[in-house]
């Protein structure tokens, strides 16, 4: 038998998910020096995961990461199986028979819950739904967000919370030349939201925004960033945190917050209010969200390990619509071990493991490997690490030749999904760009799978 990874017996790998970590895993495999054939399996007809469906439409430069993925996809050793869902169209066990290894890069697709009474009232949403909706993700395009009230509350102080707040804070003119979905642009154009509260349970020194995202709130056409100067009075532990040279990001945030607090009120009609040391206790309302009860918190513990403790005091915040953005977790896939608490596939340096140790042939990278932290590029280092583990395991792998993509194509042919190839995706891509042109948008996305499939006939 020829050596696995030689031209006579290429290493065949399936990558599940087509976001950044998926493409970086493919890139690392292609650069490994081994003979490989890598197939990417994506449940939507369109690739690129959160770069397409997560990165905010008004951040087009970040979306240029796609140029790198397009280049990776040009490799003759790369195959794309779009519109194929693991578990529905093909089982993990079947994939294991077809490929030497599977790398799961399917992200953290669902939001963590607040776990408070009233959380499921009408008007209480996850950030994921809203982000998916304005980005035209087919799963969320029919969600309805009632923006007729004046007050929106966002729970969480990371970059997703910032994206949600900023999209609510912007005028239609600020968004209309982005690739925001048409339905979202229309709904946002009718929005009555004037007050956007962005609430964190810890203090301003612990907010997770990047300075770049935060600074944008000072540059909005019709919205002022607001926060109270007294909220920036830090306890000694937080002072120590921002004085740490390795925590420059937090020091930068404090500086930006200070500049916001020092601003004189303007005639702008919207306000984005940053609030700290408050945690949601319950949502109240008759049939829909009307009020959010917040517990006042104080910080306890040493620098960098401060936790929020309730002081006993509560405040009521009128609220017409609420978004929670307090973290994300993955969704289990049948045939793959899952860590319920962390919401990830349990793993050791990317090798998926169960109680008895590593499961041969199963690997994981990206958010589903390490949890929802870091930005696009973080996933490159993450995927490179996983592929290094995979390559180190090569001598232990079953070296028998595997059917790979050819086998998968045959298997799927009998099962119904309209498999979308990378070439077909490029036609969908071209059609979207064409639709955007008359509106001065980089693209007008198809927001239904059927529309995407129609575009390729």
């Amino acid at each position: 038998m020829s050596e696995l990874g030689s031209p006579e017996n290429p290493l065949k790998v399936a990558v599940v998910g087509s976001g950044p970590s998926g493409f970086y895993a493919v890139e690392a495999l292609l650069k490994s020096g081994k003979a490989v054939a890598v197939d990417m399996i994506e449940r939507l007809p369109a690739p690129f995961g959160l770069v397409r469906n997560g990165v905010a439409p008004d951040h087009p430069k970040l979306k240029q990461a796609i140029l790198v993925y397009e280049k990776i996809a040009e490799s003759p050793a790369f195959g794309f199986f779009g519109n194929v869902t693991i578990g529905r169209d093909v089982a993990v066990d079947e994939l294991r028979r077809l490929y030497h290894a599977i790398v799961f890069t399917c992200g953290a697709e669902t939001d963590r819950k607040l776990g408070i009474p009233g959380e499921d009232l009408k008007g209480s949403h996850t950030a994921t739904e809203f982000v998916g909706w304005y980005n035209g993700h087919p799963d969320y395009r029919d969600r309805v967000f009632d923006l007729s009230g004046e007050v929106a509350v966002i729970i969480g102080q990371g970059n997703v919370a910032a994206d949600v707040a900023r999209i609510l804070s912007k005028t239609v003119d600020e968004l209309k030349h982005t690739d925001i979905a048409e339905h979202a642009l229309e709904a946002l154009g009718r929005s009555n939201v004037r007050e956007i509260h962005v609430i964190g349970r810890r203090g301003p020194a612990q907010a997770k925004f990047t300075g770049k995202e935060l600074r944008e709130f000072g540059e909005l056409a019709d919205c002022d960033p607001v926060l109270k100067a007294e909220d920036l009075r830090l306890n000694p532990e937080s002072e120590a945190e921002i004085a740490d040279k390795n925590n420059a990001g937090s020091a930068k945030n404090i500086e930006i917050f200070q500049s916001f607090a020092a601003r004189a009120p303007s005639a702008k009609t919207r306000r984005c209010i940053f609030r700290f040391l408050e945690g949601p206790v319950r949502l109240e309302g008759a049939g829909k969200v009307e009020r959010l009860i917040l517990a006042k918190n104080r910080l306890e513990g040493p620098p960098f390990n401060q936790v929020a403790r309730e002081t006993g005091e509560t405040v009521a915040q009128p609220c017409n619509i609420l978004f929670r953005s307090i973290g994300y977790k993955g969704i289990p896939i049948q045939g793959v071990p899952f860590d319920e608490r962390k919401g990830i596939f349990p793993n050791d340096e990317g090798r998926i493991k169960d109680a008895s140790g590593p499961v041969p042939g199963l690997y994981v990278a990206g958010w589903i490997k390490r949890g929802p932290s870091g930005i696009i590029g973080t996933n490159r280092a993450c995927a490179v690490g996983t592929v290094a583990s995979l390559l180190a395991d090569l001598p232990k792998m079953d070296a028998q030749a595997k059917p790979g993509g050819e086998g998968l194509r045959k298997l799927l042919a009998g099962r119904g999904p309209r498999v979308v190839t990378y070439g077909e995706w490029r036609r969908i891509d071209a059609a979207e760009i064409g639709r955007g042109q008359p509106k001065g948008k980089p693209r007008e996305k198809f927001t239904r799978i059927a529309e995407m499939l129609d575009a390729i006939g």
């Binding site: 430069k61 970040l62 240029q64 990461a65 040279k245 390795n246 696009i376 973080t378």
Partner: protein, 101 residues
């Protein structure tokens, strides 16, 4: 708007930055790395991973380091693309200490 490497990289060259760059825009000579400012997407992933804080977004560059914007643009094009972590320079740890990190 761009992001650039400044002189703290000299005598260090830790190259942690290249591992998290989503668009592989780092180029290096023997001395340090440079960002191809035409390729960089300003994601900022490299900034916190640099052990000596050599990397700045344009808005944050101290005045005395602004010349590095042009240096990055010019020199990155002349050097080879650095896409994988390399051994830091032998002087790196000493230099890091000297810089107070």
């Amino acid at each position: 708007m761009t992001t650039v490497v400044t002189d703290n990289c000299q005598r260090c060259r830790f190259t942690d930055c290249v591992t998290v760059c989503p668009v592989s825009c780092f180029h290096g000579d023997d001395e340090m790395l440079y960002i191809d400012t035409g390729v960089c997407i300003d994601c900022g992933a490299c900034i916190p991973v640099c052990p000596v804080h050599a990397i700045y977004e344009e808005t944050d560059i101290p005045d005395d380091k602004r010349s590095w914007i042009q240096i990055n643009t010019d020199l990155s094009l002349k050097q080879t693309n650095t896409t994988e972590k390399q051994e830091p320079l032998p002087t790196a740890e000493a230099r890091k200490k000297e810089l107070g990190f």
